[in-house]
Symmetry: C2
Amino acid sequence: MSHNYKLISGGVTAPKGFLAAGVHCGIKKQKLDLAIIFSTAPAVGAGVFTTNKVKAAPLMLTMENLKQGAARAIIVNAGNANACTGDRGFSDAEEMVSLTAKFLGISHQEVIVSSTGVIGVPLPMDNVRQGIETAAAELKDDGGANAAKAIMTTDTFSKEITTSFQLAGKEITMGAMAKGSGMIHPNMATMLGFITTDANIEQEALQIAIKEATAQSFNMITVDGDTSTNDMVAIIANGEADNEKITLKSEYFGKFQQALNFLTVELAKLIAKDGEGATKLLEVQVKNARTIKDGRLAALAVAKSSLVKTAIFGEDANWGRILCAVGYSGAEFDPSKVDIAIGDEMMAIDGAGLAFDEERAKKILENKHVVIFIDLKDGDADATAWGC
Amino acid sequence: MSHNYKLISGGVTAPKGFLAAGVHCGIKKQKLDLAIIFSTAPAVGAGVFTTNKVKAAPLMLTMENLKQGAARAIIVNAGNANACTGDRGFSDAEEMVSLTAKFLGISHQEVIVSSTGVIGVPLPMDNVRQGIETAAAELKDDGGANAAKAIMTTDTFSKEITTSFQLAGKEITMGAMAKGSGMIHPNMATMLGFITTDANIEQEALQIAIKEATAQSFNMITVDGDTSTNDMVAIIANGEADNEKITLKSEYFGKFQQALNFLTVELAKLIAKDGEGATKLLEVQVKNARTIKDGRLAALAVAKSSLVKTAIFGEDANWGRILCAVGYSGAEFDPSKVDIAIGDEMMAIDGAGLAFDEERAKKILENKHVVIFIDLKDGDADATAWGC
């Protein structure tokens, strides 16, 4: 499926009409810590936000701004989450938005604002103010890489994915950057994803597409099992590819969705792979679940299970732990129908173990990329989750 | 609350009319690995079982046996969970039950059977058969301690709690043993609790009491976050204390429930404390939740949060992580009303941070027993969870 898309370079500045910058403003000691992404043309925006009941100030402001559907800029800082910061947090987020709007000559409502880093500490606004001014002045059409670096916290590498594809005779480009690391880390567990595209698409369709893409990508990796106060995925589409406008009813919507799914899954896999000590990517494919919800619950529980991870890491093919995790996942299924395979080695059929080749299974578990297949034989919904 | 109960010794053989034994039959290399608890008089039994959809064979058989309400014996082995063992697992569990019934001269339905240990491997039945015969022959009125040792897996110490109290002019004794360890461990995460009492109580009341006691004790500790295929709490009451029979409507039911709550909470705290590297007991008290369900969800999420644990362990008073965990717990609450204290140091009021004394907070976190108080100010339900 993913092989239909070519990977190109450029990140969020690869699509036509996008500029970006990543600067150091002093929230962090030395590293880049503030980024702006900007569309030179009017654009629509959409986003998906943490389900945590405690939402950081920048998220609440962005959710409000996006209600009117237009978005031309993303301002984001790393090193401080501006979460649990009370009234001061809201006025700081508002100032980030209004300064960005001022320097870029756009309206307040067209700005998406995001922060990531420590919780409960007010933003150092003098640094942030200066950072916004500098970043706005440094916007470039090849600034994607620096922007991607400027949103890193515990990440050990910056994450960009870029692809282009033909749609109704026009070339559409999508670029993306993300932050988040797959291993538990004390200070910050927030996951951010920012996507730009030159596709011409109506805002309503863009919102539905980003929600579905997030559900099958970022929501299917297991970063500490929690949702943070700052998790956000946002997309801006500026129509510069000049394609016939994609609507929910148009024949091209499915193709756009597929491309966005590909892009977000590749980003999610980069996040799952990142983190201190992560030596393997674990992929859990659940087949034939009763519903997509059951499939996703089952796949996530297995990818998240510390007992399963310990088995995989210890190269011990313990399929019982896999079945146990499906059992507590909350998914509806019949334990006596479940088949389990690790790689191409069948371990269990109809819920009972097979005499399998332990040496072969051990070889499969030595791979950097381990795939667990779980066939629930209970419906026709499939889901995939990733862990490390 | 807990101070009303005196702690005595004896475990499951402390109540009148109970015998027990713990023996080594060879499932494990050297350690005790099989236990029997036996009531010399007819008794009623009740139990609570894992919510995992995948239930080990001994659980399914015990659930069936307990339907008729009488129970006089518990047979349990450690070292092998008899889970995910297919048809063979069921016939092995049935044989454990029938052998126990035969050697004790009781009916098949009066036997509770339980196993804990590795998943997916058939029981070594020759050892188990010999073990049941030996244990039945070695039953003693001071056998509780050996029985408690024989159900350990990753536990670093055996767990017994015994108490007695006056009820309607009679002395009631309750004894209990449990296994489970608070830290993540690769091989086995099962939690077992077995309780004996000489109280005279009707089976229906006993079932309701054990369910409620489990909800506020074993279900409020965080053993790896998962429910295993073998989790079980069972209680046998033989009426040898000769008290007026406790029914759901009798004035003594509340007192019985309180005593059982005390006993199970103390056991749960022992489990939370156990495990390699566990240096602290974390207690999370949620006050004034909208419903008891909201309170329990919030308390558990905080006790389970790896970010909160890392802060406590690192003696870093980060209340933002606590609020964040309440936020994703699934509990209904209003973030702008939450007060948070660690020990007696207030950290946040109405969802916003206070300037607190960091040195004092650090001192509190140095304690072996750290208590987090969360006042949701949203109702009148309280709940407590424990972690390590």
